[in-house]
Amino acid sequence: MSDTSADNIVNEAQFGDYFALLKPRVMTLVVFTAFVGLLAAPVSVHPFVGFTAILFIALGGGASGALNMWYDADIDAIMRRTQKRPIPAGKVTADEAKALGIALSGLSVLMLGLAANWFAAAFLAFTIFFYVVIYTMWLKRWTPQNIVIGGAAGAFPPMIGWAAATGGVSIESVLMFALIFLWTPPHFWALALFMRNDYDNAKVPMLTVTHGRRATRARIFWYTVVLAIFAMAAGFTSLGGPVYLSVAAILNVQFLIGAFRIWRRDEDASEVDNFAEERKFFKLSLAYLFLHFGAILVEAGLVRFGVWA
């Protein structure tokens, strides 16, 4: 008997474990926002080309997820939320994740370039670099602004989708970026308020620890104010219309009220109801992003089918 990995029977990786390295749940968000970006663009794309473009944008996102899991395997093993990921679970080695991540990064950029255009491909390559090198390797463990910077990486997919269709950047694609970019900090800081111990144990500098929970509450509110301004502004570009504006108006008022309540609350009140207000805000934040992009999609569909010009 040799002791190669082929004989490691107990904990052998199945196909699903390699797939899990690509962070499928994050990928669904990438697919959705890239799809909206592609369809909202004023250039029509052949459906097969559009499908291929979105597939490889998602694969690029998945590749950066695998590289993130390779680099962060040490802290993933400490945090409860991430302990079952394939590397800390002992199913896939960190080196395998790195190899898969690098190979799929190259493949996704190459294929996006061939399917759509090289500007979109370069943009995808930049996004992977930004997420893996700038965020994961450099800033995540160093600054409490990690969430803000990580949010930028998550905000690029609709811009790449738009670039795949148009070959460029415009005010609309920048506003879609701003929507996700500004939404991420309130979303994650609300989570950090009620999931307290995880990040502390892993020594990841979260704002709640470095600047205190009071300051985090204030920042949730101020980010939400700026977010609301940008979200409404998007309604007055070619992305918007009556559907988007009404959806955005309702959601932003709700979001502002939620953020304001979080800001005004003190820790004792939050302890009493087990962070009910913060949990509610977090749930609302999921619907917030989904419905904004859903509304942009509906507007794009209405234009395409000629309901209004």
Partner: protein, 54 residues
């Protein structure tokens, strides 16, 4: 061990092998589809019937 015989590892690796096989097959279909769309400029049926306008 002869190479033709079913080994325990074949069973154990079935999901990985099948999964990778399907992914590669899908990739081939995708590249072919993309080639057809690019070469025919999106007018697949016209290209097949040979009436592509210059």
């Amino acid at each position: 061990m002869s190479i033709g015989r079913q080994h325990e590892i074949h069973k154990r690796r079935f999901s990985r092998n099948m999964g990778l096989g399907l992914v590669l097959a899908a990739f081939v279909v995708l590249v072919f589809g993309l080639t057809v769309v690019k070469v025919t400029d999106g007018n697949v049926s016209q290209a097949i019937s040979g009436s592509v306008a210059k």
